[in-house]
Structure formats: C-alpha cells, structure tokens
C-alpha cells in the first residue's frame, strides 16, 4: 500500500553505530523500523529530516545510503510541474459544473406526438433549448406562452430535475361537436348525372330515379309551403347516387433529365457538443451538384443520450444526364399516372367505364381519360333565411 507521507530508507555503515542511534534519539528525529544487520544500521526517516540525519551521520564518521520510498506526496511532487493535470482537473470540474447547470434534455410529458415539436419550438423561441442555462429559464412565462400558443392544452407545468427540463401538459377536453341537423338546407346535384338511387330521410324530393339532372339542379327541397302561403324551412337529408362522366388529361414529355451518380463520394464527420462542432478530418470542398445524407450519433451513458455526439455527412456527386424516352416508356409513365390519379381521387366512387385517347405530339404524349362514374351526387346547399 502506498503511503501518504514521504519516507526514506537509510542504510548506515561504520564503527560507532550505537552512539549515532542514540544521537538520533537525542536530536529529536523520528526514526522507524530500526534494526542492525551485518554491521549495518537500517531505518526509515522522514524525507524532511534527512539533511539533519545525514549531517549527524557525518559527524559520527558514518556512511549513509538513502533510498526514497514510494508515497503519494512524492508522486505529487514529481508531477508538480505537469500543468496538464491541474489544468485537466480544473477543466473537468468546470465541465462538470457547466453540465450540471445547463439543460441537457427536454422531456414533454402528456402531449400528443404532433404537439411535442410545437411545444419545443415555442420554448426554443423563448431561448429555452438544450444548452440553455437553467437559472435563466423563466418557467412561469414559458408555461403561459406554451399554453397560449399550443392548441388543446389545458395546463402546462415546467420543472427541472438536475439538468433535465420536464414539460408536463394536460390536454383540454374538447366539447362535443354541435350537430347541424336543424340547419335549413336543400340538396342539389354536384354533377351532370343520371340518378340511379335515392334515399331521402328528410325534405321533399323533386326528382326521381332515372331522371337526368344538371349540375346545381335541386334534388331535395328543404322548403315547404302551407295552403295558407306560409313557408317552412327544414333540414334535408338524403343519399342520392348517380352516373356521371368526368374527364382528365395527363401529359408526359419524351425528354427526361436524370441525376446520375458520378462515382465520387466523400464522408465528413464532426464532433458535436451543443452548438459547437469540431471537424474530424480535413476540410472538403462541396460538390457542385450531388446528394448528401446526414446522420447524428449521440454518445450514450447508461442508456441516456449525452449532449456530445458525432455527425456524419455522406456526400455523393451527381451529374445531370438528358435522355429520350420511347413511346412505350412514355405510355407506361402515363398509365402509372392514371393509376395514381384513380387511387388518390376516385377512391370513393365506382368506376363504370374508362376511355383513354392518346394525343401524340413531337414533344410528348397526352392521355385524355374519360371516366364514367357512379357515386354520390347530392351536396348540401344551405338556405339563407333572414
């Protein structure tokens, strides 16, 4: 075990050993582990008392051999000129103090997933984000702002535990939606169509199945009149389906510009700490055209993310190459567009028929699509009554 205080092991040789031993006693020097062996006196003396010990030995005509023992103070004495250690200790202490007084993570509890970035954005506008000094956070003001700027919050509470800022929110309970079943309205046709079915729940039907109607024509009336001439207004409800036609046109050009990788790639990396970043490698000139993908890998300790990490950016140079498509390729693209159109816009209706006419020009190809659809044609039109 390494001792704290500095001691020297002394080996004293000569003729007058015992007068010397007693002289050491009388001189008041602390002398440990004394023993004589083979005419040599061995002992341990404090390093600070070694000059007096040596002088006393010389007075008695003795020869002294000294050996310093390992000790903590000796190590410290040897390292006293190594300023890196105290500087590192001070920097480490400063870093510890800094990290324990800044926000390292912001946790939002009780919020919906879509609200979390909004809340963080509001806090960021107020200067509260990762790296902010905890003492500078005005929690009351932030609570008021978050509650005012984020919809659907009934209560907001901000507290911090260590360097973790916790934003607790409570959702507002929305009142039930008001029903507009008592609003006076007619039902009119949304398209030029032929009626295929009618289910009238309220109101007076003015058309019947098989009738052809034009766009905006009244289908179910919400107005009734008494024999005395008094008008009554009702809320009309009906499910009216019909067959109608709808046209659309999609165009594709023969020419196509594509970004093709040239094969040159480069990866940059930075050591990131808060808003500071230290490049890990030589600087690289950005490509004139290309794609880049960034990936941030935070360092973790005991499952928690540390505010330090490595940001990698993978860059790939591309060049524009112009090409020409054949008619078949262009037609395939048009078909893909038609499928996409039907999937997105004609999902709620039944497609009875589809006519496609291709218009081929020098620049490209246009597909004129005429659909025969069956679907809901009645739309509610309010009656404005003074």
């Amino acid at each position: 075990m390494m001792r704290i205080r500095e001691y020297c092991t002394a080996a004293v040789r000569g003729q007058r050993l015992y007068p010397f031993i007693n002289a050491v006693r009388e001189a008041g020097l602390i002398c440990l582990s004394q023993h004589c062996k083979g005419g040599v006196f061995y002992c341990r003396v404090r390093r600070s008392e070694m000059p007096a010990f040596t002088a006393l030995a010389r007075q008695h005509g003795l020869e002294v051999q000294l050996r310093e023992e390992r000790s903590v103070l000796r190590k410290v004495r040897r390292l006293r000129l190594h300023i890196g250690l105290p500087v590192g200790a001070v920097l480490g202490l400063a870093l510890l103090l800094y990290l324990s007084n800044i926000i390292s993570v912001i946790e939002v509890q009780g919020a919906q997933p879509a609200q979390v970035p909004v809340i963080l954005s509001v806090l960021s506008q107020e200067g509260v984000e990762r790296g902010t000094w905890i003492g500078a956070v005005d929690a009351y003001r932030c609570e008021q702002l978050v509650r005012a700027r984020v919809e659907g919050l009934a209560w907001v509470g901000i507290r911090h535990t260590g360097s973790r800022l916790v934003v607790e929110v409570t959702q507002r309970t929305a009142p039930p939606a008001m029903l507009d079943e008592r609003l006076p309205c007619n039902i009119v046709a949304a398209h030029d169509a032929r009626i295929t079915s009618m289910e009238v729940y309220a109101g007076l039907p003015v058309r019947q199945v098989g009738d052809g109607v034009t766009q905006g024509e009244l289908l179910v009336s919400g107005v009734s009149e008494t024999p005395e001439g008094t008008a009554h207004f009702h809320h009309s409800m009906a499910k009216i389906t019909g067959v109608y036609r709808q046209e659309t046109a999609l165009t594709e050009s023969y020419t196509a510009d594509a970004a093709v990788p040239t094969g040159r790639t480069h990866t940059d990396a930075w050591l990131c700490f808060r808003q500071f970043s230290l490049p890990l490698g030589l600087p690289h000139k950005a490509y004139a055209q290309g794609t880049s993908v960034e990936r941030y890998l935070p360092l973790c300790l005991l499952g928690r993310e540390l505010p330090i990490g490595i940001l990698r950016r993978y860059e790939e140079e591309t060049a524009v190459q112009s090409g020409l498509r054949t008619q078949e390729e262009t037609m395939l693209l048009l078909h893909a567009g038609i499928v996409r159109y039907e999937k997105n816009l004609l999902q709620e209706v039944t497609i009875l028929d589809r006519e496609i006419l291709y218009d081929v020009t020098e620049e490209g190809m246009t597909a004129h699509v005429t659909y025969t659809l069956e679907g809901e044609i009645g739309i509610v039109r309010e009656i404005y009554v003074k």
Binding site: Y18, L32, H35
Partner: protein
C-alpha cells in the same frame, strides 16, 4: 529521600513503563538509550534498569515521545538489575 523521589516520579509518570501487546509489540516508556538494536536482540536502557528483548525480525520504532516501540516476533523479555 530516595523513597520521596520515587513517589514523585511515579506521580508524574516518569517511571519506566512497559506495555506488551501479545507477542508482536512491546512499548517501553521513558527509555533513555538504545544499547543494542539487532533483528534477534534489542537492549534498551531505561532510567532504572536495562531491558532485553529477544525474538525474530525485531524492529525499533522511535517516535520521539520518550518511548520506544519494539515490533516483531517477541520470544523473551528480561529486566536487568536496578542501577546497572
């Protein structure tokens, strides 16, 4: 007169006092000189009589409080004649 001085020394703790802790440590208070300091034999001179300690691996520790600590494997202790 000698009896009075002895009583005074006793009252003021200047008498020779020997403590033995098992067979590993022996402390002699009010030791005047170290006569022999060997691994198998340590001889000390107190005010009144010499003390002889025998054993193996003996070490003498002097903390300058007037006492001497002898550590090691102690096998024998003998006290000399008073006044020698």
């Amino acid at each position: 007169m000698a009896g009075t001085m002895r009583r005074l020394r006793k009252l003021s703790y200047f008498e020779t006092c020997i403590h033995i802790h098992g067979n590993e440590q022996l402390r002699v208070e009010n030791c005047r000189r170290i006569l022999t300091c060997h691994e198998v034999l340590v001889r000390l001179q107190t005010r009144d009589f010499p003390v002889e300690i025998r054993g193996r691996g003996l070490r003498v520790y002097d903390y300058q409080d007037g006492s001497v600590l002898v550590a090691g494997h102690i096998t024998g202790l003998s006290l000399g004649e008073e006044g020698r």
